[in-house]
């Protein structure tokens, strides 16, 4: 009971301090990983990653292509389970609960940890059905009106509602790239996740759509724990409070975003940020 009270108080504090990004790291730890390794067959893709992901903040993973940042992201909601021959070692805990526990229901886990992919991938269904799909399969709503409300509020949170409110029954694949990506974000939020993982969400988008999504991420930070993989250092600097630099399957450096970009400790990080490698 005391613990919980403490948590609540702490959460309250973190909200107050959210104004100051450099304090992000002090927040409650939502996802904790220790010595995470990933093998694809005989090839080792990740060599012991240990990192804490704070709640109600944006954590970004940066690094050159093939450094394992996406692989690591996909470990957090066990998406690597779907890849043939992938083996994950180490521990990953969500709120202190081991997510690789064989007792744990992976379907429930993925409802708690939503994911947005590199390329917008709406289902070839209507905009409404895209957003309603998650609540439907997880049985989150009791009536049609309830479902309507979830769909509208999710689209609103994703900043898409005003643009699509007259054509909710048109296919989601008919939207522009940026709108599709926001639809995917709305779809992920419709099941009420606690953590949202974003795998290079802007890499297929133009600068204007990117700016809109970044703004959206900044807003969502108030209510969600967000992890974003990006290959744009500017984006990491703009949206995140915490940054981790990956290189060749190793976590080289992690810390408050400002520190990483202005005062990196590690030589490799420095080189990458200065544009000398990657």
């Amino acid at each position: 009971m005391d613990m919980q009270d403490g948590n609540v108080k702490m959460t309250q504090q973190t909200v107050d301090r959210a104004m100051n990004p450099s304090d992000a790291i002090e927040r409650t730890i939502r996802v904790q990983t220790r010595d995470v390794t990933v093998h694809y067959g005989a090839k080792q893709a990740l060599h012991g990653i240990s990192i804490d992901i704070p709640e109600r903040a944006v954590t970004s993973f940066i690094g050159p292509s093939g450094c394992g940042k996406s692989t690591f992201l996909r470990c957090i909601n066990r998406m690597n389970d779907t890849i043939e021959g992938a083996k994950v070692g180490g521990t990953i805990k969500l709120d202190g609960e081991d997510i690789y526990d064989p007792q744990l229901d992976v379907v429930e886990l993925r409802a708690r940890i939503g994911m947005v992919f590199q390329r917008p991938n709406p289902f070839p269904k209507s905009i409404y059905d895209n957003v309603a799909y998650g609540p439907r399969i997880h049985g989150l709503t009791s009536s049609k009106a309830d479902l309507d409300e979830v769909v509208v509020s999710s689209l609103r949170k994703a900043g898409l509602f005003e643009e699509v409110k007259d054509r909710l029954n048109e296919p989601g694949t008919g939207l522009s790239g940026g709108q599709q990506q926001r639809l995917c974000i709305a779809r992920a939020m419709a099941v009420g996740p606690e953590v949202i993982l974003m795998d290079e969400p802007c890499s297929a988008l133009d600068p204007i759509a990117t700016a809109i999504i970044e703004e959206l991420i900044d807003e969502l930070r108030e209510n969600y724990t967000i992890v974003i993989v990006t290959h744009s250092m500017q984006q990491a600097a703009r949206v995140s409070q915490k940054t981790a630099f990956f290189h060749l399957g190793n976590l080289i450096e992690e810390g408050v975003t400002e520190d990483i970009f202005t005062n990196p400790i590690n030589k490799q990080t420095q080189d990458y940020i200065m544009g000398r490698i990657g």
Binding site: M79, M115, R119, N121, F123, P124, I137, H138
Partner: protein
């Protein structure tokens, strides 16, 4: 790099001219080939349809003769109408139509102007409506095949009498009937609704059509769900190991097995081992299902492979279970491809002859049950399976049997 080694930039125009001409000519040639191919295909189709129609249009009409049958109580007992002397009824009716005929031999001959089954048609009509007993019953009855041929002009009147299948006397009788306005040539519905018969004038395709329909129905009901289930499991759920590799290789090999081998299999397994009846569309359908199963599995797997992985990822990312991802996203996306492949496989199965010959699907069926959709008279399994078991002919097998007869005669 020094100036002396530098070549001047090539002029694109000079070389380009010849290249462009060649390219345009190649484009034109390709287009001409295409148009030529389509023209040839259409031309051949027109020739085929024209020969079919010119050779066979007469089969679509049939010579009928309207006859008033006197149903006297002497011949038909109202207490037992099915057991009446209908042969006598037919003779009396024809004698009334052609009053000049007197000798018993001639009376028998004029009865044969009508199809042999006339007595049964009359009997059935009387049983349906007992009120005609004591009065007359007017029916349009198909003429026997030689009179039909005579009427259509395929038996020439100019041929010498001894070379002709109808005598001068018979022609005279027929002309008399025609003069009385009793002869008509309506559309030949019997071609579609009658089954096999020894008498050409009342033979039709119904047995073959019904047999083919039931066989393909059984084939679809067995092969479609099984094929899709197998393909979905192999493609979406099965671990990739040596066993699934073996299964995959075997499925691909089965698709290349000659169809007659499946006929042998059906004969050995369904008929010999399980004791299912010969000539049954149930067995035919099962054999065709085995034959089309590998094709359906292969096309379904390809259709599933063609679904972009991003859709699966999106589903898993939303927390859908593998079953939900397959049923909600992957299968609906793959369905058009699956349907195309299935239709091709079923069309191939429908046209298949060799395996069906081996399980006796060229049976001679005179009483098919057309109506599968009608409720069976009694809720017994044998009534449900009755039509499937009995209607054992296939249209394709009939045609093949027919053409092989022709071949054996000509050689």
């Amino acid at each position: 790099m020094t100036d002396s080694t530098m070549t001047p930039p090539r002029k694109a125009t000079k070389i380009g001219d010849a290249l462009r001409r060649r390219r345009n000519a190649a484009d034109l040639r390709l287009r001409i080939y295409g148009i030529a191919a389509i023209t040839a295909a259409i031309g051949l189709l027109v020739i085929l349809l024209t020969t079919l129609f010119l050779g066979g249009y007469q089969a679509f009409v049939q010579t009928h003769i309207r006859v008033d049958f006197p149903i006297s109580a002497d011949n038909v007992d109202p207490g037992d109408p099915a057991d009446g002397n209908y042969r006598a009824v037919v003779r009396q009716a024809m004698s009334a139509l052609l009053p000049d005929v007197s000798t018993p031999a001639e009376t028998r001959a004029i009865a044969k102007i009508l199809t042999n089954n006339t007595q049964f048609f009359v009997r059935d009509a009387v049983v349906r409506d007992l009120s005609v007993i004591g009065g007359t019953l007017t029916l349009e009855v198909p003429a026997a095949d030689i009179y039909d041929q005579l009427n259509k002009g395929t038996i020439s009147r100019e041929t010498l009498e001894e070379n002709r299948r109808v005598s001068d006397q018979e022609i005279a009788w027929f002309d008399e009937l025609q003069a009385k306005g009793a002869v008509s040539t309506p559309f030949n519905w019997g071609l579609i609704f009658n089954a096999d018969s020894r008498f050409p004038e009342i033979a039709g395709l119904s047995g073959a059509i019904v047999g083919s329909f039931y066989a393909i129905l059984v084939c679809f009901l067995v092969a479609f769900p099984t094929g899709i289930a197998a393909a979905v499991y192999l493609e979406e759920f099965a671990p990739k190991n040596r066993w699934t590799d073996i299964v995959e290789v075997n499925i691909n090999n089965l698709a290349a097995v000659p169809s007659i081998v499946f006929g042998l299999l059906g004969l050995a397994v369904f008929i010999q081992t399980f004791g299912l009846p010969r000539s049954a569309p149930l067995v035919g359908g099962l054999v065709l299902a085995l034959m089309s199963l590998p094709t359906i599995i292969i096309v379904t797997r390809n259709a599933l492979k063609a679904v972009p992985p991003s859709i699966r990822e999106a589903g898993y990312g939303m927390g859908a279970s593998p079953q939900q991802v397959v049923m909600h996203h992957v299968l609906p996306q793959a369905l058009p491809g699956i349907m195309t492949g299935t239709i091709l496989a079923l069309a191939q199965a429908l046209g298949e002859t060799a395996p069906l010959l081996l399980i006796g699907m060229n049976a001679f069926i005179t009483s098919p049950r057309l109506a599968l959709w009608m409720p069976p008279p009694l809720c017994q399994l044998r009534f449900i399976f009755g039509p499937i078991v009995r209607n054992g002919a296939s249209l394709r097998v009939h045609l093949l049997a027919f053409s092989s007869c022709l071949h054996s005669f000509s050689s």
